[in-house]
Assembly symmetry: C2
Homo-oligomer: 215 residues x 2
Amino acid sequence: MKLFGYWRSSAAYRVRIAMNLKGLSYEDNFVHLVKDGGEQLKEAYKAINPQGLVPSLELDNGDYLTQSVAILEYLEETFGGHKLLPETSQDRAYVRSLALSVACEIHPLNNLRVLKYLSNDLKASDEEKSIWYRHWVTEGFAALEETLEKNDHTGKFCFGDEPGLADICLVPQVYNARRFNVDLTPYPTIVSIDQNCQAIEAFNKAAPEQQGDAV
Amino acid sequence: MKLFGYWRSSAAYRVRIAMNLKGLSYEDNFVHLVKDGGEQLKEAYKAINPQGLVPSLELDNGDYLTQSVAILEYLEETFGGHKLLPETSQDRAYVRSLALSVACEIHPLNNLRVLKYLSNDLKASDEEKSIWYRHWVTEGFAALEETLEKNDHTGKFCFGDEPGLADICLVPQVYNARRFNVDLTPYPTIVSIDQNCQAIEAFNKAAPEQQGDAV
């Protein structure tokens, strides 16, 4: 398999963690999201993914998958190894809801194309952009922290003592939050789960700074 | 089961369609998103869903599920009846990627809390908000239209001739696009799929105007 990604893309970061957790090897194809207005918006990449977003995953049969959460579900359905989702449907729904509370409620508001729109079209200042960024992270993390604190399933990780789908989405968001100087002290459960993940090789190897295109 | 929703919430609309397609009955619990600053932000509802978002689904055992896409996956795993996802993992990944291209790339940018932030915090004018809204819909629909046009699986619906997960996410987004006067003529495949869905009772009964809280 070949992963089209970018070191700082948190959606690509998710897929890297999952591949590592499952012990799957993959080839990197770096798509530079910033240089020259963004390789993801050029014809060559848009032929692979018309959305102009990373990641895309090229399968061994030459077909492409897009949308990181769909790719994570595919990896879970297709490959053995470390399980990303728990056993019962209700528990699976809970873990998916945690993952989606990051993937649908925080990350889409803070990705590169949105920040660009704020500057270019709404003439937002850097300060206004930072406030915007932190607003959606803190709103999302506050709800997630409360959910994790209240739920008996919370352990070393979002669900019990093995990392899974929710942690895979959470860790890249924590990375981004730190990058944008979000104060994480109000979210001790999130911070502790992130720390527990960082101690695992699969998460560590997937970190942005470990990638071949990191600068 | 009891669905906490709002007639115009497109995430609640998705769940209503899925419940109807699977022939599941449910009780409505309307959460007024606008009145008094929004019932979804009051303590009573946030005890159910700390995110302050609809929908939430109360199960017969009294537990709650949140995040519409997680709820859709739960319904698919738990109940028989109409299938929302195809058979093979690769096809399932494709259908999920279509659904998520709406649920992660269009809808989160255009929901109520974001539009409120644009007005209140960034002092965007109504005209700027409309342009913002249409920007994310047209960008998302252009990519989706291209994907659907190129893919051999596209039929009367997003995947073949039976409606599924992708259509369930698409139809409420088309509804919203029309509400915000987005010109849909560049997206004939999307428009045709929407028309085919509208001819189905399960979609029709789920439409915002058919709900008990519609005004």
